[in-house]
Amino acid sequence: MSALAYPDHITATYYLVLAAILFTIGAVGLLVRKNTLVMFMCIELMLNAANLTFVSFANALNDISGQVIVFFTLVVAAAEVAVGLAIIVAIFRRRQSVNADDVDLLKG
């Protein structure tokens, strides 16, 4: 806890803790929400936490690859969102609901 007791300079730990908190909030949201769109948003929160972690480490380690991997993550996330929303739109064409709990045709 020594790091948190000396707030005269910011250490990478602050950023990492912030990212961990965001990651947890995203994970909780994924568990408690049932609207598919909001579930996507919660996953975006988790991805964003991972990105913040990468960037903080890139800075702390003075290493470039942390930034490069964030660049790739952003691109991949954009592709994922495009496909995900296309799936949601396709579902909505058939049935007028986007709640994950309503999607229970197959169970067991």
């Binding site: 947890t24 909030i25 408690v32 049932k34 990105n51 800075n59 952003l74 929303l85 296309a86």
Partner: protein, 163 residues
């Protein structure tokens, strides 16, 4: 150094509140707007860390494209703006336990492992270095991502097309 601490604190608080907003709000459009707060805060933190390139990529790709896609998704599916029932399911207590467990472990270990690491903001990374790294060391993933984007594009069109 104090100014930087204050800026970090304000942005961090905004991000955390925004994230809680995404998880708590009953309105899907509000959730998307709360997500903008978190993402913009993320971009600001990136700048604070001296990593401008990814900060602007974050603004352009996430806030510019992903959020707009989300808003389009909300409009196209006419997701509930004023729902009568809540958007939550009944997993609240397991979720609370999971969150305490997760945040406890992660924060504890992070503080334990990295308490000595300083962030050196005097050392911003030049965008040119990032690009030269992408186009030399990481050229293979870069090309693969190109194919991936083409695949995602065509896949999304196939699914979303009306026929």
């Amino acid at each position: 150094m104090i100014a930087e601490n204050v800026v970090f604190g304000i942005i961090a608080a905004a991000m955390a509140l925004g994230a809680i907003g995404v998880v708590r709000t009953k309105n899907v459009v509000h959730a998307a707007l709360y997500l903008v707060v978190v993402l913009a805060g993320g971009a600001a933190q990136f700048i604070l860390l001296g990593q401008e390139f990814v900060a602007w990529v974050q603004v352009l790709v996430y806030i510019g494209a992903v959020i707009v896609l989300f808003l389009f998704g909300i409009m196209l599916t006419r997701a509930p703006m004023h729902p009568k029932d809540s958007l939550d399911n009944d997993l609240r207590w397991p979720a609370a336990v999971t969150s305490l467990f997760l945040v406890g472990i992660l924060v504890g270990l992070l503080v334990h492992t990295f308490h000595a690491d300083k962030v050196d903001v005097q050392r911003p990374v030049r965008t040119a270095d990032v690009t030269s790294s992408i186009f030399t060391t990481y050229i293979v993933p870069f090309e693969v991502v190109g194919v991936l984007l083409l695949g995602a594009l065509i896949g999304a069109v196939v699914l979303a097309r009306k026929d």
